[in-house]
């Protein structure tokens, strides 16, 4: 599965900027002049999307940190990436996971 780039590495939109306030990522999309706010877990996934970690590696961290089964975390992260894709927050060329 490619999500935002090759090799299963989810990539943020290159022009998106973000800061974290009280555990929630405030993401700014200048191309569309939009703001997006991610909940706590979503903010953690966004932070883990460093352009190096694969989808599976991110899910592993989430599973460990939130004490859930890996398969559950993987499904949730995939779903979340779908939300990011729908909100134009992923790099161009992303496929829906």
């Amino acid at each position: 599965m490619t999500t935002g780039a090759s090799g299963g590495i989810p990539r943020k939109h290159p022009h998106a900027t973000s800061r974290v306030y009280e555990g929630e990522a405030f993401v700014i999309l200048p191309e569309t002049s939009e703001y997006k706010i991610l909940n706590g877990v979503g903010s953690r996934v966004w932070e883990l999307m460093d352009g190096v970690r694969t989808l599976e590696e991110i899910a592993k961290v989430v599973a460990d940190e939130y004490d859930v089964a890996f398969d559950t975390a993987l499904a949730d992260v995939r779903e979340f990436l779908g939300e990011l894709k729908a909100n134009n927050m992923l790099a161009d060329g992303a496929e829906t996971p």
């Binding site: 900027t17 700014i28 002049s33 997006k36 979503g42």
Partner: protein, 368 residues
């Protein structure tokens, strides 16, 4: 991924942002850093509030870039590059690129005079969140009179068009003065024709040294009464002024809470309007420590929390008061003092609201 207030991992739109802004005011979350990177300007606007310090050297490129990195570490999301006229700095784009590299969403406040096709392309390549261009009249006579620069109207329009051809979002910021008050619809039509969003602002402030001469340019009281009526709902975006709602936001404003301002010499202020220096960005090693421990910032925060409970309660039209403690301090010496123009404006707004309610109460009720 569940669990934010909307039950979804990605919240968007006005509600989520408004909620964050309210929290930033209540909890002192630094969202916006506004840096006046120079006081040099190629306009001579009649109401300008800047007060350059004669003979004092403005910060150099590397000093500003180092300061930008400190602001990023503080956690601000927006970096506003302002002035004076920021594009007069030869190193403007080097500074702006440093802001992008530090992860900021850029806002550029300019008068647009220096924007040609080349400059517009360089601005486009920065991918700014917005470019805000000051605009002052629906025709050259009015605008050039206010800027003090013949030809400014034509030059600025060409600059806006250069940006718009490249798809750059441009907001036209229009201070309402007695010189342009009858031209607002003409300005709006011009903005609409260029695909820009106009923002009209009736607030004129004293100069930062307390000189109140700019206030002579304020819009007429009679005009302000019309402005806040349904007649100008297309300009103000509201049928009537609405009273303050202190249930959600307790602070009077975001001074020292959601904003921080820097002047061309590196002085740090709680906002662009309140010139109480909290230090110099070249001398402060860690802005996070300043943000939490500065006695200046903590004092202005305390004042901002007190104002809705004191100043605004003692004023009959306090619910409609866009009170600025910074203006109050520079104009009267006391940040709690109601100053004449805010009192007048709040009275007009309250009267408009009362009239609106009377009309509504007499309106026939639709029967289904």
């Amino acid at each position: 991924m569940r669990g934010n207030s909307e039950g979804r991992p990605v919240g968007d739109g006005r509600n989520a942002y408004a909620d964050l802004l309210a929290r930033s005011w209540n909890n002192a979350l630094p969202m916006t850093a506004l840096w006046e990177i120079t006081y040099a300007c190629n306009h001579k606007c009649a109401f300008c509030y800047n007060c350059p310090e004669r003979g004092r050297r403005e910060l150099g490129t590397q000093q500003i870039i180092a300061g930008i990195e400190k602001l990023a570490h503080l956690g601000c999301a927006f970096l506003v590059l302002s002035g004076g006229e920021p594009l007069t700095r030869p190193d403007f784009f080097e500074i702006a690129r440093a802001g992008k590299k530090a992860g900021f969403a850029l806002r550029i406040y300019t008068n647009g005079y220096l924007v040609d096709d080349l400059v517009a392309r360089k601005i486009r390549d920065l991918m700014p969140f917005e470019v805000e261009i000051s605009f002052h009249g629906a025709n050259a006579a009015t605008m050039d009179k206010l800027t003090g620069v013949p030809g400014s109207y034509d030059r600025v329009i060409e600059g806006i068009k250069s940006l718009r051809r490249l798809g750059v979002k441009v907001n036209m910021k229009v201070p309402i003065t007695r010189w342009n008050q009858e031209e607002l619809r003409g300005i709006k039509a011009l903005a609409d024709s260029m695909g820009c969003h106009p923002e009209f602002d009736p607030v004129i402030t004293p100069r930062d040294d307390g000189d109140t001469s700019p206030l002579a340019l304020q819009a007429d009281r009679d005009f302000l009464a019309r402005l806040w009526s349904p007649e100008f709902a297309d300009i103000t975006h509201e049928e009537t002024p609405t009273p303050r709602d202190d249930t959600r936001v307790q602070a009077n404003c975001g001074t020292g809470r959601s904003t921080i301002a820097i002047d061309p010499y590196g002085n740090i202020y709680p906002c662009v309007q309140w010139r109480r220096s909290a230090g110099n960005i070249t001398e402060v090693p860690d802005l996070r420590e300043l943000w939490t421990k500065s006695p200046v910032l903590n004092e202005v925060r305390r004042i901002a929390m007190e104002i809705p409970k004191t100043t605004l309660k003692t004023c009959e039209s306090g619910e409609f008061c866009s009170f600025c403690p910074g203006v109050a301090e520079v104009q009267t010496g006391d940040p709690f003092n109601i100053y004449p123009q805010v009192k007048a404006n709040s009275e007009i707004r309250k009267k408009a609201y009362d009239q609106f309610l009377q009309i509504q109460s007499r309106a026939p009720v639709a029967v289904s």
